[in-house]
Amino acid sequence: MSGELRELYQEVILDHNRRPRNFRALDGASRHAEGYNPLCGDKITVYVQLDGDVIREASFQGFGCAISKASASMMTDALKGKTVAEAEALFDRFHRMVTLEPDRAVDVGALGKLAVFAGVREFPSRVKCASLAWHTLHAALEAKAEPVTTE
């Protein structure tokens, strides 16, 4: 098995794929949005419960590949207790990590557990899988009515 594949499919990611956390609709969610990747058909709904400016609860539903499912699972875990601004900053950092050239590494330390997705940048066709949940979160926080797509 190639090293890059192991980097992509880390045990943590495979675990979140098998047993996604926060995989449910959130009753009384203050915000939710739908995301869609028209290239592969992945679909996701992200739910957020806001308490003022703070994300109290986050969850998701939908279907997709291991990368998109694990990304949504770990994202919803990471969001709890963060302010909207902190969540957006995290998205920005995450996005840079999965899209940047390897030699221009971002501060993955600040991403905590989400750093396991660093391997995605070696797989350009999979970047959208990793970022779909985050784009959808962004739409939910901006209260966009139209489903977002990765295209």
């Binding site: 098995m1 499919y9 592969c40 992945d42 590949c65």
Partner: protein
């Protein structure tokens, strides 16, 4: 392993012949991430033999000029070669005349052309257009757009769980208001070969013309539009070992002659004045602007190439390879084949327990095995089958049993990772 030993002598000769053809395709010598390329995405596009690549180079090196205009030698040469390509396309489809061949960008443009000309002229409010549930989006959306514009209704022939069209249900959809049937010859997602000859005959009994999407058929079997009695037949050159950007719309001469123009511009006119314009005859009426001359010449070279091998050789070889691949894939634990029609082309769609097709595709790519994953531009079909996506291996005559073995070995890696 029962590979070469199980092959009867006659088909062993066929196997050797096809294996020797691999040398005609320079790209098949490519290494992918250090491993030999195993190209199993032929339904998306086929690779090009050196002869086609050379034809393009030769045209731009020796013959390049615009067609149908110049009085100079190069223009005459370019025109002759472009029109020769039309003759070859007519022969490939067994059309009655090269006049029935319209060059387009590909199957998609061919369908749009028919929807926007024939469709606009014949479909009105309350009329119906019949398509099937297994159509590619390119044979759904143009008709949907036409129906929305005209206040017409799209009627859909359902697909069985095996991936076949129930003909009695098809016939029930044909009625007084049906203006055209648009039907795929071979399903790109499932490999089903539809009984188009029978389906066309049934439509004709109701006085309804039929457009056949032959994108997945022309590279794998002989097509005779006159025997089929198809009214329109479309295909893309790049799925027939030719270049991208060129395709063919076949239309019966009587239909093409009566159709209004598609796009306006040069070459499609006979005289132009500000008081009014007279249009050129078919097929030129439908070829506004400078066409893809090099593309047509490249396509002609591809037609020569496959004709020299012969579909009487290609079809049985691919059928045997499909049987072998079906057997090998069915033996992979947790793998389920999607699309098990009785008449199938060499396309294998499948899903695996607990693994999304996208992940299968990524892991296979690292082993040098190129397949397609996703909805294959057939979302209504995927919805009908209760799937979001499948993995798809699609074979061509240059694929081998060893490559099928490489596919199954790579699927073993998928099980290792996700097991």
């Amino acid at each position: 392993m029962k590979i070469a030993t199980a092959v009867p002598p006659e088909s062993a000769a066929l196997t050797d012949e096809m294996a020797s053809r691999r040398a005609d395709f320079p790209i098949l010598r490519e290494l992918v991430r250090g491993k030999p390329l195993v190209y199993l995405d032929n339904a998306a596009t086929t690779q090009k033999p050196q002869a086609v690549i050379d034809a393009l180079t030769h045209f731009y090196t020796r013959d390049n000029a615009n067609v149908h205009r110049g009085v100079h030698l190069l223009s005459e040469r370019a025109t002759a070669r472009y029109e020769d390509a039309r003759i070859k396309a007519a022969r490939l489809l067994h059309a009655a005349s090269p006049r029935e061949i319209v060059f387009v960008r590909g199957a998609t443009e061919g369908i749009n052309l028919v929807a926007e000309t024939f469709g606009r002229a014949h479909v009105g409010p309350g009329d119906e257009v019949v398509v099937t549930e297994m159509e590619h989006h390119s044979n759904i959306v143009p008709w949907q757009m036409l129906c929305a514009e005209k206040g017409a209704t799209l009627r859909v022939v359902p697909v069985t769980a095996e991936g076949e069209l129930p003909l009695d249900e098809y016939e029930r959809l044909l009625g007084d208001r049906t203006r055209i049937v648009a039907l795929v010859h071979v399903s790109n997602a499932l490999g089903t070969i539809n009984p188009v000859r029978d389906m066309i005959a049934r439509a004709h009994r109701h006085g309804v013309p039929v457009l056949v999407d032959g994108a997945q058929a022309v590279a794998h079997q002989a097509v005779d539009v006159q025997t089929l009695d198809a009214d329109f037949y479309v295909f893309s050159g790049h799925k027939l070992y030719g270049p991208t950007g060129i395709g063919v719309l076949y239309g019966k001469a009587a239909l093409l002659d009566a159709m209004p123009p598609y796009q306006g511009g040069g070459d499609m006119i006979s005289t132009v004045s500000f008081e009014g314009t007279r249009y050129n005859v078919a097929p030129y009426r439908f070829e506004a602007g400078t066409p893809d001359i090099a593309g047509a010449i490249g396509l002609a070279s591809a037609i020569d190439y496959v004709s020299a091998i012969g579909f009487d050789r290609i079809a049985p070889y691919e059928a045997a390879l499909l049987d072998y691949a079906t057997e090998r894939l069915a033996a992979v634990p947790g793998l389920r084949l999607v699309g098990t029609a009785r008449q199938k082309s060499a396309i294998l769609s499948f899903v695996m327990d607990g693994v999304h097709p996208h992940d299968i595709g990524t892991i296979l790519d690292r082993e040098g095995v190129a397949i397609r994953t996703g909805h294959h531009c057939c979302q209504p079909l995927m919805h009908r089958l209760g799937l979001d996506a499948t993995a798809r291996a699609s074979l061509a005559f240059y694929n081998t049993r060893e490559e099928v073995d490489a596919l199954t070995a790579a699927l073993g890696r998928v099980k290792e990772m996700f097991g």
